[in-house]
């Protein structure tokens, strides 16, 4: 395999790997808090589940970028075109925004979700407001998704 192809694969890995870790940590944090609330009050399962799912999106964004890169590169067809080192590095760079921002925003969105689960524990009628706080964190994951997406499409093989 050429070095260019290796760097392109590294780009796919960065996008899916780190965004996935961010979501795993974030949903785990929120899941612990949700489990605590549901132990005492099982009726709150649905509401807390919504909040737990919020930090899960980063992993999906990472996957989207990864899949688009793989389809551009023809990975599914088992016929990967030759890439220059420069092209490979561009894929790596394109994977970074969603990878890095996904990792960090996933964890911090999880923390905001934990705090919002505290709202649900005490004020079950305030789900709408409780969702907004962690949803603000989502904005930055979406921005990095857009940038990663445009970069990927801009490379063109």
């Amino acid at each position: 395999m050429e070095l260019g192809q290796f760097f392109a694969f590294a780009g796919i890995a960065v996008a899916t790997l780190f965004a996935g870790i961010g979501s795993a940590v974030g949903t785990s944090l929120a899941g612990q808090a949700a489990a605590g609330v549901v132990t005492e009050d099982p009726d709150k399962f649905g509401q807390t589940l919504v909040l737990q799912a919020l930090p899960g999106t980063q992993g999906i964004y990472g996957l989207i970028i990864g899949v688009i890169m793989m389809s551009q590169l023809g990975v599914f067809g088992a016929n990967i075109p030759d890439l220059s080192v420069q092209q490979g590095l561009m894929y790596l760079a394109a994977g970074c925004p969603i990878g890095i921002v996904g990792l960090i925003s996933g964890i911090y969105q999880g923390k905001a979700a934990v705090a919002s689960i505290g709202i649900i524990a005490k004020q079950p009628g305030q789900l709408g407001k409780a969702i907004i706080f962690p949803a603000i964190v989502e904005t930055y994951a979406i921005l990095s998704l857009i940038v990663s997406l445009l970069m990927t499409l801009g490379i063109g093989v």
Binding site: Q32, E40, I117
Partner: protein, 329 residues
């Protein structure tokens, strides 16, 4: 890495909603008699026991509630330290009783509290056999120190003062292990508030600064020198100095003492101030603040219920009870 309390905080958030609220406390205060006050608790967490006891047996109910809550907190927390740090006061209370019994033979089983970190029967057998090997280090060291202090002076008060000092040292040690600024600050503030009360009492008794230094708790923000300097001045000077500290909310209590020679107002303010400090910090979703706050709030609540029940049983007017009742969480 600090211990993660996320799950326990989640549970605590729901448990907090089951604490007695202002309305229910007010209904208890307004109740016509003790039986009716007890009946107000029927639909609360006290309900199962409240329905089976007479009004004058309220201590059984409060004790059971405290015991079940301590057990629950120990069960849901990643570390028992959050419960231990508050339960230590019961251990030290029991030590005081048992140690004084050894010298003064004034034993009374009723005043031992079964909420400590060490089982009360074990504690008794350690003391009877004079064998402290199985005892936690902090308690053992405290006993040895208190005994030494008593051997010198033969004054049972020295046992109390030595154990109180050891109690706060033990509390700070747990707080350090928890790496929580909130917890450290909470107990330092409490030590200060107790020291202010001690200072006022010592002054009223006309004791000297040597006695004061022995009675003060360690670790507060207001150090020994602060109090020693004020010994020969009026209480007004203390009030002026406190106005520029965290404790300006307490000065009314000291002024009240100057008028009435009673510390009830000060003690209510002290409880309210500490509770309000906890309330300001309970929103942390990851640290121990919410859990310690919940336990603290529950102890506060049992104090409120006790004040009301005592008042109702003694036919105190509702207004007089209302004045003594602490704020709720």
């Amino acid at each position: 890495m600090p211990v993660d309390f996320t799950y326990a905080v989640g549970r605590t958030r729901v448990l907090e909603t089951r604490l007695l609220d202002k309305d229910r406390i007010e209904r208890m205060i307004a109740a016509a008699n003790a039986d009716e006050a007890l009946r107000v608790l029927a639909e609360t967490a006290y309900g199962p026991i409240a329905s089976q006891i007479n009004a004058d047996e309220y201590e059984i109910m409060l004790n059971a509630r405290l015991k079940e809550t301590y057990e629950l907190v120990r069960h849901i927390s990643p570390t028992p330290a959050v419960a231990d740090i508050l339960a230590l006061k019961y251990d030290f209370h029991n030590l005081k009783v048992l140690l004084k019994d050894r010298y003064l033979k004034q034993y009374d089983d009723d005043i031992l509290v079964k909420l400590g970190t060490v089982d009360i029967e074990k504690l008794k057998s350690y003391m009877q056999e004079d064998d402290f090997k199985g005892m936690p280090d902090v308690l053992r060291d405290a006993i040895i120190e208190a005994q030494a202090a008593f051997e010198v002076s033969r004054d049972p008060q020295d046992i109390d003062m030595a154990l109180d000092k050891a109690h706060y040292e033990a509390v700070y040690a747990i707080a350090d292990d928890m790496h929580s600024d909130f917890v450290k600050e909470l107990f330092r503030r409490q030590a200060d508030m107790i020291n202010i009360r001690t200072f006022v009492r010592v002054k009223a008794m006309g004791k000297d600064s040597r006695f004061l230094a022995k009675a003060l708790l360690p670790g507060g923000y207001l150090d020994e020198a602060f109090f020693i300097e004020l010994v020969d001045q009026t209480l007004g000077a203390l009030i002026e100095r406190l106005r520029f500290t965290h404790y300006d909310g307490l000065v009314d209590g000291i002024a009240e003492f100057e008028r009435t020679e009673r510390l009830t107002a000060y003690e209510k303010l002290m409880d309210d101030e500490l509770l309000s400090y906890i309330r300001d910090n309970r929103s942390d979703p990851f640290g121990p603040a919410a859990i310690i706050g919940y336990l603290w709030a529950l102890e506060n609540e049992t104090r409120i219920v006790r004040i009301i029940m005592v008042g109702k049983i003694n036919h105190m007017p509702s207004d007089a009870i209302r004045q003594r009742v602490r704020e709720v969480y």
